[in-house]
Every structure is written in C-alpha cells, then in structure tokens.
Amino acid sequence: MPPAIRTEHLTKIYGNRLIAVNDMTLTVPEGAIFGLLGPNGAGKTTTLRLLLGLQRPTAGRAEVFGNPCGANAVAVRRLIGYLPTHPNLPGNLRPVEYLDLLGKLCRLPREERKPRIASLLRAVGLLGLTDQRIENLSTGETTRLGIAASLVADPPLLIWDEPTAGLDPSARRFTLDLIREMGKTRTVVVATHILGDIDQICDHVGVVHEGRMIFCGTVRDMKRRLRRDDFSLDLEGSGDDLRRLAEQAGLVEGVKVRLQDERTLAVEILDGRPRSVALAEVLQLVEPNHLTLQTVQSGQNETEHAYLQLLQEEEAHGFQRFDFQPRHKDTAAEGNPSA
C-alpha cells in the first residue's frame, strides 16, 4: 500500500534567487492527520502547491497514493480535496452554483452532484445562506464553503492550508472538530503555524524551517525526543517560605531548582533519577513550608517548546546541515527524526 504522500528530494527554487523548498523528503502515511508546521515563509504552501501540480519542482519528485504529481496530473488532483488559505472564490456565484461548478470539474454526474451539494452545505452550516452571493459571506463562512468545496469529490486525501486562519473561536472550534472527524476516514494534511491546532488534532507532524523538513514523525516522537524533565510549580504563600522551599528542594538528590518569579518554582530533574520519585520528594516539602500548591506544569507537554527547540537546534547545527550522506542512504522520514 503506497503512502498517502511521498516526496523525494523535492526542491523548488524561484528564478535562481529564492529557495522555497529545500531537498524535502517526506512520507505521510495513509490515514494520518498530518500537521505541516513552520513559521510564515517556511515553504509549507509551496510544498502543498507542488503536490497539487500548481507549481513545477526544480528537482525531486512527489507522489500521491503512488501517482506522480504534475501540472496535468488529473489522477492526483482527483484524490485531493484542497482548501487554500483565504480561498479566492468567484464572488458573483452563490454557494450552490459554486459547488455545482466544482462538481462538474470533478466530472460528477448530475444525479450524484445535486444531493451531495445539499448534504455538504448542511454539514458546514451554510444551508441558510444559499441565496447569498459568495462576495457577501464572512471570512468564516467563506472558509466553510471552501471546506465544502474540498469535499465535493469525496477525496481520500484532504490538504488544508491554514484552515483556521482569521476565524473566530467558534468557527475555529468547528473547523478543528471537522478535521478530527475527517481524520477517521481520510488522510488529512493541515499546514499551519498555530501550535495549538497541531496539539489538538494531529497525530503526525512535519516541521519545516527555511524550506527544509527538520523533523518528521509522530507528535509523540517529537515531544519525547525533545523531552525536558522539568516542572513548574505554581505556589501560593510568602516569599520567604518559597525561598526556604527552594533551598530544601535543592538538597534533594538529582534535582535542580530555581525561583522563576515570586510564586513559581522551576524544578529540573537530572538524568538517571526517576521523574515521579524526584517530583514526589519535592512536593512533600510544600505543605511543611506553609505553601499551597496551585498547579504543576510539565515541560514535556509543551509542543511550542519542542517546536522552538527544534528550530534552535537547526540553527545551531550550522554547516552540519549540509547533507553529506549519499542519496541512496536516505532514511524514510516517517517515524524518524530527520534533523
């Protein structure tokens, strides 16, 4: 069974000036909810447009379910439901007319097209706006229409580029729930720079930085790889009590502590010491020092931290980032950190 998406040394250079995608090797397994994560301008959208055949690669190749991507690769685009960022839809049409047009482009016969359009409009909550022109819809409504458009042909792969950009909290919640729902039956690729979205919906993640895939694997792998055995204790009490606690906790074996501010104690557990045991010993000192524990935060769960650390590591590697390895020794990106 071929993976949903596979790219090999995919490279896109604009006019010998700008490297948008840099030797990207990536595998997205079928059935995954894959988050393509990276800062603005990292090359996420270019990668997606290369998959769709909207852009031609300078080097390398890309496949979707084993079919090569290209400008006239109709077979590939038939398998993909694409939602662009802030989709540029024909404003003079009404939602039904627009979806009907897309149904025709997907070669759906009339008897299949019409019921599906009605069903989709109901699913995305636009049934009450069918008499409005698209130019009169709000950003959230346009995105929902774009989502419906990507589902017209019922494709096995959804590629959504920043689907939550510019949405209010309820629309964002709706979109994230929908992605989770879609992920049960389809492969979903979501490009975003919003880490909270990745945390909530994705099981696989690829981190792109300056056009290069610096990590590709499961979300759990990313967090485990960048695990920081530290905790933040939010405490209520006097400053003197807090300082006394810090002194006592510093004496616990394999633990380093420091005061972050007037009420937060950072606890770092050194290698070789069981985390739960060390933390329990520190927590036992809280009550005797007349302090009340408000919250305990684990650094391990912070995707944001892991992401930022990945970017820092990538920057710190300097010239080591040059790929010395021969081409035939490429590792499959899936499950393997490529950084």
């Binding site: 909207l54 006239n72 109709v74 049409l93």
Partner: protein, 298 residues
C-alpha cells in the same frame, strides 16, 4: 460512448459556461456592447444618404479592425491569465481534477464566443439594414456571399486579437504591461507587413479591401465578365497611343500593375489567403500560450 465523451468534456464545458456567464455580467462587456451599437448607429445614420452599401458596411467594421474595439477585445483576452485573475484560476480551477488545457481552452473559447457574440449582435443587423433598406444611393452590388465573407474575415481577425491578448497575458503576467505590448505590436504591424510584402494582411488594408469583398459573388461564373473591362482598357490604351503617334508625341509606356496596397480596387483579394494569414498566427498564439501556461507556476 456519447456518455463517456459527455463526462470527459464536462470540465471544459463547465469552465466555458462559467466564464461566459461571468463575462456577460461584467460592466466592460455591457458598456462595450452599448458603445458598439451606438457607434454603428451613428456611422450608418451620418452616411445614410451619401455612401453606397459596401463602403458603409466597411466603415461599420472599421472599429473592430483598427480602432478602438480591438483594444477592448485584447483586454478581454489578456484578463484571465494575468494579475489576480490568475490566482482565482489557480484556486478555482487548477487545483481541481482538470487539465491546464481544459482551463486554457475553456477561458479562451469563452472570450472568443463572447467577442463574436457582441460583434455579430451589432454587425449583422446593421449590414442587413444597409443592404435591404431603400436608400437614396445607387446600388453597388453587395452580395450575400460578400457580406458573409466580410463578417467571417472580421471574426477571424477578432479571434486573432483575443489570442494575442491571451499570449501576452500568459507571457507577461501583468495586465497593463500586456496591453501596452499589444498596442506596440498591433499599430506598427502595417510597416512590418509592408516590409515582407504582406500588405493585404494588415488590418488597415483589410478594411480597405472589404468593399471589394462585399461585392464579390459566390462563384466566378456568376461574376460579370472582367474581360470586357480589360478589353476596353486595352482598347483605350491603343487609341491613346495611336493619337499620340498622330500628334507626333512619344508613345506612353504601358501602366505597371500596382501592388496590392497601392491599388484601390483590390481585385486580387483572396479570401483564403486572408483567412490563412490570420488563422495561422491565431493557432500559433494559442499554441504558444498553451506552452507558456503549462510551464507556469501558480
């Protein structure tokens, strides 16, 4: 098999229908239609009692060939493949399961059909009124074949204008730059064609030759024998030489047949040559636009 063909051409027909409908709703097209009707009415009314049918129809067709309607036609051609329309095309069509050929052919065909529609909606009624109405001018022998042929010739020129607009829009990506380039290309074309002895293919010469075409019959057999006129000319020349000899003057040299562009009667006008002269560049423009469009990033 018909059902299969129907399904295969569904995207092309959908793009064509969508684009045609969008164009019909645009202000540019509506204003253009009104302006062509108004200008044609003005031209016909101001020359109603003075100009014979053939030159009058040629005058009505002049704005399509030379100025100003070619500009509108070229702008319509430039539009879909350049500027923000190109982004809309990428988000709307090209990311769906359609080929770029379908997309380009659909939008090109929509523009050609629209331009022909606007042109024929005005030109056909005007030509019918001019030919069939009773006017205080002599009948100059406009034929049905001549009218149809003239309308086809102008339609082919309009198709070339749309195609050139398409090509420039695809090559240059910026609408304004493409329009400027088209202006620079279209107006000096007479000089270029003159250099290569192809004057009859220039828009101005073509417009000048339209009265001749409008008077042409369907077949040579039904044409009035031209030998009589030639005989008369030869006879007149002989008589003039004879008189000059009698009067003691030098005999006048026989007149050299003027080149196509220099003569006013355009008797050697060839419909086939003109259709090929405009048809081949049209095909080349569309082919080149297709190649550029296929290699383009969105």
């Amino acid at each position: 098999m018909i059902s299969n063909l129907d399904t295969r051409t569904l995207p092309l027909r959908a793009i064509l229908q969508h684009d045609l409908w969008g164009l019909c709703q645009s202000w540019l097209v509506r204003v253009w239609l009104a302006a062509t009707a108004l200008l044609a009415a003005l031209v016909v009314m101001s020359n109603w009692v003075a100009v014979p049918s053939a030159p009058l129809i040629a005058m009505v067709l002049f704005p399509y060939l030379v100025f100003p309607w070619f500009l509108v036609v070229m702008m319509l051609g430039v539009n879909p493949t350049s500027g923000s329309r190109a982004d809309a095309m990428a988000d709307g069509f090209l990311c769906r399961p359609v080929t770029r050929y379908d997309c380009l052919l659909g939008t090109w065909l929509a523009r050609v059909l629209l331009v022909w529609g606007v042109y024929l909606a005005v030109a056909v009624p005007v030509a019918a009124i001019v030919v069939f109405a009773k006017r205080p001018v002599a009948d100059d022998g406009v034929t049905l074949y001549g009218v149809i042929a003239a309308l086809i010739v102008v339609a082919v020129v309009l198709m070339l204008q749309v195609s050139l607009g398409f090509l420039m829009g695809t090559l240059l990506r910026r609408s304004l730059l493409a329009v400027v380039m088209l202006l620079l290309l279209w107006y000096p074309v007479n000089i270029v064609l003159h250099t290569f002895h192809l004057e009859e293919l220039s828009p101005i010469s073509l417009n000048q030759s339209l009265p001749t075409l409008l008077r042409q019959p369907w077949s040579e057999e039904s044409e009035k024998p031209t030998a009589n006129r030639e005989d008369m000319e030869a006879l007149a020349q002989q008589a003039a030489q004879f008189l000059s000899v009698l009067s003691g003057g030098a005999p006048q040299p026989a007149a050299k047949k003027p080149a196509f562009f220099e003569q006013s009667s355009y008797d050697d006008f060839s419909l086939l040559r003109v259709l090929l002269g405009y048809g081949i560049p049209t095909a080349l423009s569309v082919a080149l636009a297709t190649v550029c469009f296929n290699r383009r990033d969105f």
